[in-house]
Symmetry: C2
Subunit: 559 residues, 2 copies
């Protein structure tokens, strides 16, 4: 067995640990050192909120593996509580500091892998550093939050930021019995979703008694005034709202830990992430980088992006090991596939959303639908709000979003696979998916999304977004509600006329031939049928994408 | 609006109803007649077992739509209780019989669509036609079964046949409190699964106290002898077993209803299904056929096949309408994607299984794995038994099977999408799927299947099937168990030696260099690591695919 290279890995969680394990499987003779600043390697960072909330009962469960177990299995030299101080690329050494003894020493390498992750953003808001304020990055953070929260049962918690971690923490602190508020600087939570999709989460959050402050950034963390009780601070928002907090979670996003790389003169991308080529190699040929620290190419838009997700980090760890020790492989970009539970709802997305496509200057069309999670005649079916974005010329699927109580993760994963395979909406319409009443429908929600989009492509129907409904010109358009009388009387869009679908053929003479007829029903299916009848009878007719349900969500989102 | 064609559709359930609705959306001016032999159209045939079991509480729920509702919406001429007696292709007429009045009349057509479905097989077993014997095809069948079963609470039910309908009926009759037995002529239930995968269903069925008679066809249905109580018949199996039954379900498969087509001189395929071209047109240019009645091309093997599934039938209905009235489209074949709940287990498959690949003479390799349904550190994770079949040369995914308590449908649908997109195992390894602890793992089960298969393709590891383990030659091979001592002492494969993974590097000298080392652990992951260590140290090592878990299942399957 010839002697293998000496591989030094900075960072021992998702990407770093994956790279180390894969490297050992490829080479028994490599020397593999894995350095981690914290006390644990290979811990369950995505599980931290669930430990705080008590769903994960034991802290031991957060430790997916231990240095001892990893060493026994993979013969690694693991150094926890060890910080990388600086890289000396010319000498091929890294200066390490043992955080327990404070000893500094130089460690030479043949190959260096940077898996330094991303650090929670802490903007310079006055008072941000205080006892009772926490970020959620590692096991000690989770333990500290738990300990602090134990002191304030039923207390007030304020979560700053409505991204993945913020929403998961809000849910879990609520589960602990705390009174929770979320403050978000943007007009919506879950920025990976488009506004009308995110609006469904707003409803769900508020329905659980969690305060939700949108478009309202934090301006300061203050001491409690008289009459206010706040063991941590009073969170002051730009609107002037004062939220007394016994516990504050800072979840305002993360920023790649690129300073080691930057200080060593490695190229940094426009996003602030470490720049790597398609093989995940940095601008120094002996140094590779993976995970949340790097800038990736977005698989749909091609834009340089930061997509700090555990799945890509793990796979990048394997790829980088293969490139160093095995078959050369390329990383094809990240697609931003994500899934999240928010109370009883699940929200997922994959590919590009409207904002990402707009900033990339890509043309797209979107369709909205509200299919049943499984066959409507089998108990427990519930609606999924879906949005599919596609290229109107080529039909290629560009993005998908879904929110619902059940079956969301499956449809997102199917559409993620479709996007990564380069499928068109026509392909998706034809996908043969598993159907039995408890699991789906003969036309699966994914199929339906493809069918609706493909009807647009062939010109069978045209549609406008619910947002455009409010902007319509009553002189040139008429709004037509084709639902049943009982639905109409429960609420409808102001200014609409009402003819149920089943009566349209007989009441064509009530409709104007000189105006565009904008039709809607509850979800968009019946109004599509109506549009077909109208168009073939010489009317100009357009469907409202996602119809009344999406229109309501868009209204709530203020868009 | 120019006058459209006169379209006559024989059969008003999945494919027929889809074709009718799509045709109307494409043409307001077509004359569309839909003829159905039974009293209902567009009913929930896949829901029938769940109505019998009481999960679907109301018979009205089985009627997805009614003739009146369909007519109002789609302006159809629907004729229920009407049988097609014969087609006269030269005259372009069909002779119809009104089953209520017995009146026969000729109906001319411009275009004819055959959506005649498939009928339950009733082999000429003595005594098969008796009161208390039922097939499960339509709503009247379900109502009759319910009524009969109501008379025998806690009685004995025997289900003949262990396919989709047989297993669903067995589960639902058990749910009603009946004592259920299943008799299956093959050595396994669920013939779409390979034997070692189906074995897990055998366990589950027996664990619920349901009798399971495998490789045991029915030889007769007899009257009860003295001492036997059987309101329906005594089911006599070839083995001699006598199963007294108050209720018998005949679920021995279905056969395409092709007699109308055959009598009209239309081409019939080798499988007995109506032969159609890629546009779903029969050998008569004015006649099209869809659904369970037709022979399809298998999307993976290309073999002429019968795949009576609701999803394909519905999509074929759309395609045929498009071909008649809109954009010409082709049907790309069926992939046999199916999902089924059997008590607390879910079993799914997509693409080709071993038998299908063997009969098509296609080369393939298979890997077995047992990943967690979601992150192991989050509560409720359970193992999924997966099998992935792929082309060793091209890497193309050919088939997948999965059995487990949770998350099976999602992985089957992802792999179904991958197969239909022509993805390789390397592509599947790299799929970016949604990950949060309640839903999956950073390396999703689908990813893991792709990774294992791709490790085989690059030669990183070789494996043998558990079946080959029993046939190994002890003179040239040694069997190595690398699990922990506690696992070993709970049971192991006879003849194995035992070195836990963590000790292998230190105990290499205990292993022979002149024999092939066949390694196994519980699921195949640790023994893969062991193989990597051994191979790099100059040993010849092979992994057992799916390891101890799959070996146990294969033993139970007798393969």
């Amino acid at each position: 067995m010839s002697r293998g290279p000496k591989i030094l890995i900075i960072g021992g969680v998702a990407g770093g640990a994956s790279a180390a394990a894969r490297a050992r499987r490829l080479s028994e003779s490599a020397e593999i050192i894995m350095v981690e600043r914290g006390p644990h390697v290979s811990f369950a960072n995505c599980g931290l909120p669930y430990y705080v909330g008590g769903e994960i009962a034991s802290r031991d469960d957060l430790l997916v593996s231990t240095p001892a177990a990893l060493t026994a299995r993979f013969n690694l030299d693991i150094r926890v509580n060890t910080e990388a101080v600086r890289i000396e690329p010319a000498a091929k050494t890294v200066v390490l500091r043992d955080l327990v003894t404070d000893r500094e020493y130089s460690e030479p390498y043949d190959v260096l892998i940077l898996a330094t992750g991303a650090a929670p953003v802490r903007p310079p808001v006055p008072g941000i550093e205080r006892p009772g304020h926490f970020v959620v990055r590692n096991v000690p953070d989770a333990l500290a939050i738990e300990e602090w929260a134990n002191r304030y049962p039923g207390g007030q918690a304020v979560v700053i930021g409505g991204g993945y971690i913020g929403l998961e923490m809000a849910e879990q602190l609520h589960r602990r019995g705390m009174q929770v508020s979320i403050a978000e600087a943007l007009p919506q939570v879950a920025a990976f979703l488009d506004p009308e999709t995110a609006a469904l989460l707003h409803e769900e959050i508020r329905a659980h008694g969690v305060g939700l402050y949108l478009s309202d950034a934090v301006s300061a963390f203050e001491n409690a005034r008289s009459g206010e009780r706040a063991a941590a601070s009073v969170v002051v928002l730009r609107s002037g709202a004062r939220l007394p907090a016994d516990l504050v979670i800072l979840a305002m996003g993360v920023r790649p830990e690129a300073s080691l790389a930057r200080d060593a003169g490695l190229a940094i991308g426009v996003t602030g992430g470490i720049k790597v080529d398609d093989h995940l190699r940095t601008s120094d040929p002996a140094i590779w980088a993976i995970g949340d620290a790097i800038e990736v190419r977005h698989g749909v838009t091609g834009a340089p992006s930061l997509l700090p997700l555990a799945g890509p980090a793990n796979r990048q760890g394997r790829i980088v090991a293969d490139n160093i020790l095995g078959t050369p492989r390329t990383y094809k970009g990240s697609f931003g596939t994500g899934i999240m539970r928010v109370f009883d709802l699940v929200a997922g997305s994959t590919g590009a959303n409207s904002r990402a496509l707009d900033s990339a200057g890509m043309q797209y069309r979107a369709v909205h639908l509200h299919p049943s999670s499984h066959a409507g005649y089998y108990p427990g079916a519930c609606l999924i709000a879906m949005k599919l974005l596609f290229d109107p010329d080529t039909g290629r699927v560009l993005g998908a979003q879904a929110v619902g109580r059940d079956g969301v993760d499956k449809r997102i994963d199917v559409l993620a696979t479709a996007i990564q395979a380069g499928l068109t909406v026509e392909d998706v319409a034809e996908l043969e998916l598993g159907y039995a009443p408890p699991f789906g429908s003969a036309k699966d929600p994914a199929n339906l999304a493809g069918m609706i989009a493909s009807n647009h492509r062939t010109g069978l129907v045209s549609s406008i977004s619910p947002t455009e409904v409010s902007r319509r010109d009553p002189n040139t358009t008429v709004l037509l509600d084709v639902r049943e009388p009982s639905e109409w009387s429960e609420g409808h869009i102001a200014g609409a006329i009402h003819i149920p679908l089943g009566e349209i053929r007989a009441r064509l003479n009530e409709l104007p031939r000189d105006k565009e007829i904008i039709a809607y029903c509850r979800s968009g299916l019946r109004s599509y049928y109506a549009c077909r009848i109208l168009t073939q009878n010489g009317f100009r007719a357009t469907n409202v994408s996602g119809a009344y349900l999406t229109w309501q969500a868009a209204q709530q989102a203020g868009c």
